[in-house]
Symmetry: C2
Subunit: 353 residues, 2 copies
């Protein structure tokens, strides 16, 4: 034990612990992803995984193709590299692949260089909760091949499906052929505080991640990697995920019911109906600025994330909000949505006067 403890406290290889990598290889097999250790870079959180992607692919003024809205943490990481954006509004069944292709083509023709990658969250997207259909996943992969730019597929919520059919990841559709870089984290399947995740991709990309990681944090704490390995290998994951799904799924249902009850059609409020994940997205009439609404709602002890942080600078929209339905209790959900509705009505009547 003494020796174990001593080992846990030493430096570990930059790409990660071999036994955690093996546990990840086995774990991903169930999701039809078949890879080796050369395809894996252990990261110190999903955010770190995004940072590695940004630093590897982006020189200043390089562009990325994204959905609107998209994950604010990804935008924050890419902003550090002065990213530009090629954008297209997300649709009810995910990325508007045809629309995004037109934007990519237009950008490439104008700028004489391609966007460096396509960033997507196909499963229960943060912030919208939208899932990208199988047809569109295949289309995204074709787009990546045609333009020779990788898809960066961020999959933090993949295990959290509450209804509908489990869809193959774009990484699995590509059969590890190098057109996709997959981003994973233990934050949502184990716990956020562990700060461990992993990027998967072609060995030449993983090697470059290692070079950057060596200079930016050196290695991921072994103690935390060991906890993740134990979790993957010794926990009954099926039961664990079943429980988690049941718990969140109930909350989502309460939320959707409360929205139906409190937002009559003539209020012009719309919301997504996620099949999984942690978030749903509410769009309010255009005259409502959710940044202003936020401060009014806080006074009523109701919180949401104003939607504008999920749009990059230059593409901002102000009439939407992200709801995390996983935290509040049923009672808090019912009461919270009721208050949100009354705050919106108050905002609108104030505007009119």
């Amino acid at each position: 034990l003494e020796e174990d403890w001593t080992h846990v406290l030493q430096y570990t290889p930059i790409p990660g612990e071999k036994d955690l990598m093996q546990a990840i290889i086995d774990y991903l097999k169930k999701d039809d992803i078949h890879i080796g250790p050369d395809n894996i870079m252990i990261t110190t959180s999903g955010q770190h995984g995004l940072d590695l992607v940004g630093r590897l692919f982006l020189d200043p003024q390089d562009a990325i193709a994204i959905d609107l809205p998209t994950f604010g943490g990804a935008l924050a990481a890419f902003e550090l590299e002065d990213a530009q954006y090629v954008v297209k509004a997300i649709e009810e069944d995910g990325t508007d692949v045809k629309g995004l292709e037109a934007e990519i083509k237009n950008y490439s023709d104008t700028k004489k260089k391609k966007p460096k990658f396509i960033y997507v969250v196909p499963d229960f997207q943060n912030p919208s909760g939208i899932t990208t259909s199988l047809e569109k996943r295949l289309a995204l992969l074709e787009l990546a091949k045609k333009y020779e730019i990788p898809v960066v597929e961020d999959s933090p919520y993949r295990e959290l499906r509450y209804r509908g059919e489990h869809l193959p990841s774009i990484y699995s559709l590509d059969k590890n052929q190098g057109h996709v870089i997959g981003l994973y984290t233990f934050s949502k399947i184990l716990c956020p505080g562990i700060r461990v995740g992993f990027n998967i991709g072609p060995p030449e990309v993983v090697k470059k991640f290692a070079f950057i990681k060596g200079a930016n944090i050196l290695n991921t704490p072994k103690l935390n990697q060991n906890i993740c390995r134990t979790f993957l290998q010794e926990y009954d994951l099926d039961t664990h995920f079943q429980k988690t799904r049941h718990y969140y799924s109930e909350k989502l249902n309460f939320f959707l019911e409360a929205l139906e009850d409190n937002f009559p059609e003539d209020m012009g409020v719309k919301w997504t109906k996620p099949e999984g994940g942690l978030f749903l997205w509410i769009t309010v009439p255009e005259e409502i600025n959710t940044l202003d609404l936020f401060y009014m709602a806080i006074d009523e002890k109701v919180a949401f994330v104003p939607g504008e942080i999920f749009y990059p600078e230059g593409f901002k929209k102000y009439n939407s909000m992200r709801i995390n339905f996983s935290f509040p209790t049923k009672e808090e959900i019912v009461e919270g949505v009721k208050r949100l509705s009354s705050v919106i009505q108050k905002y609108q009547s104030k505007k009119k006067t």
Copy 2:
């Protein structure tokens, strides 16, 4: 307990846990540094601390003033930002402050912009083991004030002094007036695998570190921060450091003796005599390339780090090596130095034929 465990696994504030910050504030008081929580950014390792510094201060083609040689990990972090260098060879009593000032002046006159900061490791520098004198610490601080560029003072080995007088840090000499950014890590005082460190500096700089950290790794694992806090608050640190110092100090003495015994003056081999830390620096005659020597030495099961990685591109020197004297046993030190001597002799006689 259940609740404690749950809390440990959640997200924590980006700048770090309040109670760890308080423990650090108390710990640094003993070293005559008097700061508040606003002066502290918890990092996910010393390397991460360097990365934050590089990302905050450096735009592409910006320069840094450094000693030659200097810590390779710092160079690696700054390379990610395409750093340029203003350099001056380190002297026996530390940074050649006058020489470096001349270089800074010359650079500023030519480029019409200043280097962004001065990076130094004043205590038992990695790789040379050299300590910067009090006089030169004061001179570095004056230099920072005169040119209005901060000193980045990297202090990973400060607790590891085996002889000579403890010198005040440049940060303490500045009395928290904002001319110095201090970099610390738990790697050398607790254990490398913990991956926790901290940067200290003026609140406006710490705020910018938080912005970058939020986008590059979000937060430092709470579990690891808790271990560090427990270490600072509940360990008998005096006894711990005394033991550590005794242990390393003996090894350093074995090493210095072995070098005396095995490198007669006419071999032209020189070495530093560190007052602390983990490293010493050996300079061999100019005709010896320590990269080549490294492979010969490995065959004899002797390892060192070839010195060239401690020089940035364009300033490389190839006739030096860094020795980490903290790992091998006494027997391994004696045998290792003997073999190193014979490998050097073999290299030289090979060159002559």
